[in-house]
Amino acid sequence: MTQETPQVELRTSPHLQRPIRTDAIMRNVVYALIPVAAFSIYAFGLSALLLIATSTASCLLTEFLVRRLSKVENTAGDWSAVVTGILFALTLPPGLPLWIAAVGGVICIVLGKLLFGGLGYNPFNPALVGRAFLQAAFTVPMTRWAAAFAPGRFVQAIPSTLALPFMQAPEFDAWSGATPLAMWKFQQTATDMKDVMSAFMGTIEGSAGETSALVILICGAYLAVRKMMDWRIPAGMLGSVFVFSGVFYLINNANPNPLFMLCSGGLMLGAVFMATDMVTSPTTPVGVWIFGVLTGFLTVLIRLYGALPEGVMYAILLGNALTPIINALTQPKIYGAKKAKAKVEQTQ
């Protein structure tokens, strides 16, 4: 007895809605990442381009195929896999064999995301899960850094890029470089303002995307202004790195100076694009600050006192792990809360 005339619709209030959808947010993150990726390609040439393309394709394809095979609604179109793919590529050393990047893409999406139910439910940042996995699985290729701005980078890929699947890549002495942080850690080179400037402008070695602090900051600002990113997290994280490394620098000035700490390594990329992944960071206003400060502190701790030169990835992953607890302990005090009661609730 269905009526021919179109029926009225019943929906729940509110009947007005802000017109920004989740896929649009993800798409805008992709836009914001394009300049970062472009700079990376400019610095490392063909290898970086291939790396980004491979990893993005791998992430997207994995998401699509797994969803298809498990016969649930396909979510490959929500752009989040693209974000993961690009960010993942930007954390990898240029010159990494492409097959490893492709494997990493699968790990990101499956281990980092789909096992937990997909977008929104993953407790850890998928791109970083992928990177941490690769770091532990293929440590040698993952810690081999290519020199930036090598001549001929646009016509020729770094040879190791094209290693056969599952096979070791050849050494690439001719192309090799070292990150400023590793230089400091393993060669005890001092760091001065010149290094700070080059790290800020991006004329240094490192992961594909950890090169120009300036470009990353500008792109981050775009997202923050459009309210698609929580500015408090990078602010907290960078601020905390600055303060803690400043303290250590004052105690012993063999430690790198705080500005160098800010601009070097993956900190900028991590603080602006990865710690801010809303899925894996706290939601409460206080929690967001705690998260920023905590990840910043861990970064400094690992960089200065750990075995590894760089700690951003581990710091963010540890922050992710603590996020549920931070959230639980920082539930906002509600309007009209009775004071004593609020305390009891918060400890739950």
Binding site: P6, T12, T22, G118, I334, Y335
Partner: protein, 447 residues
Amino acid sequence: MGTATLKKTFSHGIHPPEHKAATVESAITPLPFPPGLVIPLSQHTGAPARPIVEPKQEVARGDKIAEAGGFVSVPMHAPAKSTVAKIGLALTPSGAMTPAIFLKVDLESEQEPPPEADSAASNALTPEELVAAVQETGMVGLGGAAFPTHVKMLVPKGKRVDTVVVNGCECEPYLTTDHRVMLEASEDLFTGVRIALRATQAGCAIIGIETNKPDAIKALAKAAESDSRIRVAPVKTKYPQGAEKMLIKALLKREVPSGGLPIDVNAAVFNVATLAQLGRLLPRKQGLIERVVTVTGPGVERPGNYLVPLGTPVQFLLDHAGMKDTARQVILGGPMMGVAIASLEIPVTKGVSGILVLTDKELAQRPTKVYPCIRCGQCIQACPMFLNPSRLGLLSRKEQYAVMEERYHLNDCFECGCCAYVCPSNIPLVQYMRIAKAVNRERKTAK
């Protein structure tokens, strides 16, 4: 007293587009009588009214046709000269069938004019008598909740009201009834405010008006100069500024305790339309038989503010205002808190402040695809009650309703819709809250 200069407000909240231009200039115009009226016996919060008429009985305009079913209840009056057709079940916006009096309107004969005001008599009443008189008018809150006004005016023993807050915010987009009332019935409004002051024995009254109604602020501020107890306070234009808890916070810097009432912070809140109606009805010993309704939205051809006899079916009202073919959704109330109705047979009741008609176009702009919560925290930063809608939504999805209540203050949510408004993932958060509340309520009564 003049207006304060600082814009007062509360924390969090949202800024939806206002959409008020279509009706803000349209003066209140009376609607003709429909052939049939439906008077549900329960159009207010509290016990239903008890009918005191029989089928086939003839009633005059303004006659009492149902008496209050208790203290938290109000009587009903006939909005027109008519015959009682039957006492049966009628559909309510909630979808349930409730008892109602069906009236067949006598369209032929002249409707009696309202009686003359007798201010002197009403001014002589004691607070207790005043409360009883208010109840007799059948007044309920016209701001939306339809809570019997006399109950709020009766100050319980041991409590005290120092300030009467008059709610002229009208923060809901699209709606302009309160705005028009403030402009067109300021005399009645001030009479009403004085009644409220007398009944509650409060020392002063503050009329809170959002800054997007400068003409109303100006007009009322001028009128308020004559009475030192009454002043006008502009408040920031922000949704849900009109929610009483938010308004109290903005004007008095007090927070109504969780689970408490305005009276717990020595305040009483009344909507401007409520007090304007009261100021008009009480001196005349008249009952509430009509109200101002904003009929608006892209699906309406002649949007405007209509004075509508209570019980008029929405269909009749929309026929009068002209409903477009593309209309697809009819909402009683504003877009943020209003309820979509399934049938146009539903009558306009005391709590309906607006009818919003949306078309295919608006619905198409709101796709139904729901993404998972990405924990962006937008909702947390929007919720004026400082709840955690993200968590509440996730819990509700997994049917952990008890946890929502025990740990996440479910019952403090007043369903303003800010969270769902900002949610990029299109999660029906308000609906999730309602489901949880409904289930919890059911479980409690089952116990």
